[in-house]
């Protein structure tokens, strides 16, 4: 056993020597977290501002003008044009000169004054479903607040206020100010350690195949567990180091809160890295060149990231896709990171995704170790 550890120790030393001699790779490993966090957290924002707004006011009354004012004065919408026919306003939407068009029908004021209710139509460009949702929410808000101002205008008996109107008031928990970076940074940290783990480990063994040293290693009495431990441990360490660097930047640079415990984060990360490294090793054993390995790793990386709930919420995916994400380790780690950092979840609260990750780790490593043979056939 002592000898076994000595061999692993030397293999580790050799891997680190090689990693630190790789002048192309080293800066990337350490600069990547900065760039990813800074760019992704700041550039990709869910806020929708200055929406080009088109008005089709067929009523032309004081009340309709007042409603339109509510929109243009809200700060979210920019009036880019007015027209009096449906055809014209749709044309504007198609041409991209407006993303939303408010249609106030003829008799809007009259209906309100006599029956106490009237209808308006919002035509929203939903090419980008997410923005469309946000625009709709803004619009609903504006219409709601417009309703509240009506009591002073409407004839008695038609006003809803005073009759105990139910007002829905929402407040955001866990991220009360809806700070985008608070939400994104934990997820981006996951992508970061995944990148490092999957690519570095995926490239490593196949590189030994490419340069032929794998044959030299295979004829040595080195045992399979020694080889695999020696190959995975360096990247496990680098991955956790990368996470640490990312957490420091998140705390100091983005002031992302950390309500949970760092111990939980590291425990989960330690297990998660095993999943990723096992996958990398598996890719390495199935491919013959770094190019092939890169391609496959990239394929999984894209799918995992897009289906992780990092950029688009999992709840809005079709049912089959939601089920599919259960097999996605990135999804679970993103989920856990957000819960721990923003909600202060402890081990008990994250036990089920953590169990899935553990099972993934066992499965991946078993597959990879089984696929790696010191004898070819």
């Amino acid at each position: 056993m002592r000898r076994g550890l000595k061999v692993i120790g030397y293999l580790l030393q050799k891997e680190f020597l090689q990693i630190f001699r790789n002048r192309g790779m080293l800066p990337i490993i350490f600069i990547m977290p900065f760039i990813q966090l800074v760019i992704l957290s700041n550039a990709a924002t869910f806020d929708v501002r200055n929406v080009p707004f088109h008005l089709q006011d067929m009523d032309r009354t004081a009340l309709s003008a007042r409603l339109a004012e509510q929109f243009t004065g809200s700060g979210w919408f920019n009036l880019t044009g007015e027209s009096f026919s449906e055809r014209k306003s749709v044309e504007r939407l198609v041409a991209g000169q407006a993303n939303v068009s408010l249609v106030i029908p003829r008799d809007f004021e009259k209906e309100l004054m006599t029956r106490g209710e009237a209808k308006v139509q919002l035509v929203i460009n939903a090419e980008d479903g997410f923005s469309a949702g946000v625009i709709q929410a803004y619009s609903n808000d504006i219409v709601r607040s417009f309703n509240r101002t009506l009591s002073s205008v409407l004839p008695n008996g038609l006003s809803h206020s005073g009759v105990g109107e139910i007002v829905v008031k929402s407040s955001a928990w866990y991220n009360p100010e809806l700070v985008y970076s608070d939400y994104m940074v934990p997820g981006i940290l996951v992508v970061l350690v995944t990148l490092v783990g999957l690519f570095l480990s995926g490239m490593n063994v196949v590189r030994e195949k490419e340069i032929g040293t794998i044959d030299q290693i295979n004829v040595t009495p080195m045992r399979r567990y020694q080889f695999i431990t020696g190959k995975l441990l360096p990247f496990w360490i680098i991955g956790l180091g990368e996470l640490t660097l990312g957490l420091v930047i998140a705390r100091l640079g983005f002031h992302v809160p950390m309500l949970g415990s760092y111990a939980v984060v590291y425990l989960v990360a330690a297990i998660y890295m095993l999943v990723v490294l096992g996958m990398g090793l598996l890719i390495s054993t199935l491919t013959d060149s770094q190019q092939q390995a890169m391609f496959i790793a990239w394929f999984f990386m894209v799918i995992f990231t897009l289906m992780s709930g990092l950029f688009t919420s999992i709840e809005s995916m079709p049912h089959w896709a939601q089920n599919l994400t259960m097999a996605n380790p990135v999804r679970h780690f993103v989920d856990i990171m957000r819960r721990v950092m923003l909600k202060g979840a402890g081990l008990a609260e994250i036990s089920s995704p953590l169990l899935i990750l553990t099972a993934d780790a066992v499965l991946m490593l078993a597959l990879a170790v089984n696929r790696y043979r010191k004898v070819s056939d």
């Binding site: 000898r3 061999v7 090689q18 030299q216 004829v219 004898v375």
Partner: protein, 309 residues
């Protein structure tokens, strides 16, 4: 004494390509054994089976008394293998490479320094240089040092001299001879026929089939047809004309002249000279010559290799 290598009926195919067909071969302990053959003859496949990297489809290979399939672990700690392609870590230094291989074999450079001193002393001035920046001959010496660092009983060298300059090649064979004196059995493959004479015994491999296994002298003696060394001003046309001669067995370039073998038991230089003169070749010289080992190999290569017979 039990042989260092015993191969019985070993066959290996890659898809539809038959790399080895029913090989039987035995290498004695302490022997310097040469495996001669052109590219694609099956040399590398055979060596990879012996160093337990490949499993034979059929047959059995015993290395140092251990079965190559069942007891590969016992074999691996006792052999030194040098693949055909330089395959050490180019981004590690000479010293780091050597220490790495010593450690994975559970030994240290110091423990077996005696054995490699001869070779490694030439590398010592470049101890801290990255292996990737060494010259071809130096790389080869480093690879040999790494294969020797755990004092193996058997060395398996796959084309160690391919792509190495003539001086380094000569030095390399001298190193092998000294290792043999230390009691290490060596199996070395090479496409260079002239290197055969440096071995105790050689095997000639052609398209997966062993065509001759003998001492260099024994292999040379296989060649019995009369042989002439012929030279003329136009060498290419000379070969064409010689091959067109009705009794020609073979004609091939050999150094600066052409070796011509006849199908008949006897041939006179005068007859050939007259024939060539009639074809208009000038500056002729024709003389009988004693066949060397390369002539045998050239003759063997005319024979059909391959597995179907």
């Amino acid at each position: 004494m039990r042989p260092a290598i015993r191969i019985a009926g070993v066959e290996k195919s890659f898809g539809d390509t038959r790399a080895l067909c029913s090989i039987d071969l035995s290498v004695a302990t302490g022997e310097l054994f040469g495996l001669i053959g052109a590219d694609g003859a099956g040399k590398t496949t055979l060596i990879r089976i012996l160093c337990t990297l490949l499993l034979p489809d059929r047959g059995k290979a015993e290395v140092l008394g251990y079965d190559s399939a069942a007891e590969y672990r016992s074999i691996r700690s006792r052999i030194g293998y040098m693949p055909g392609r330089f395959s050490l870590y180019e981004d590690l230094s000479v010293e780091e490479n050597l220490r790495f291989f010593a450690t994975v074999f559970n030994t240290s450079v110091e423990e077996n320094y005696e054995l490699i001193r001869d070779i490694y002393s030439q590398l010592e001035p470049f101890r801290t240089r990255r292996a990737g920046r060494l010259s071809g001959g130096m790389k080869q010496k480093l690879a040999l040092s790494c294969a020797l660092v755990h004092r193996p009983d058997l060395l398996l060298l796959d084309e160690p001299t391919t792509g190495v300059d003539a001086v380094s090649r000569k030095e390399f064979w001298e190193m092998l001879a000294r290792l043999k004196e230390q009691g290490i059995t060596i199996l070395v493959s090479t496409p260079y026929m002239d290197e055969a004479t440096r071995c105790d015994r050689v095997a000639f491999l052609q398209e997966g089939r062993l065509l001759a296994v003998d001492t260099p002298e024994g292999v040379t003696a296989l060649f019995r047809a009369p042989l002439l060394a012929v030279s003329a001003r136009e060498k290419h046309r000379l070969i064409t004309e010689l091959r067109a001669f009705p009794h020609a067995r073979s004609a091939y370039a050999f150094g600066s002249s052409v070796h011509y073998a006849d199908l008949r038991d006897e041939v006179s230089a005068a007859e050939i000279e007259a024939y060539l003169q009639s074809k208009g070749l000038r500056d002729l010289s024709v003389a009988p010559v004693k066949p060397g080992i390369e002539d045998t190999f050239m003759a063997l290569m005319q024979e059909k290799g391959g597995c179907d017979e």
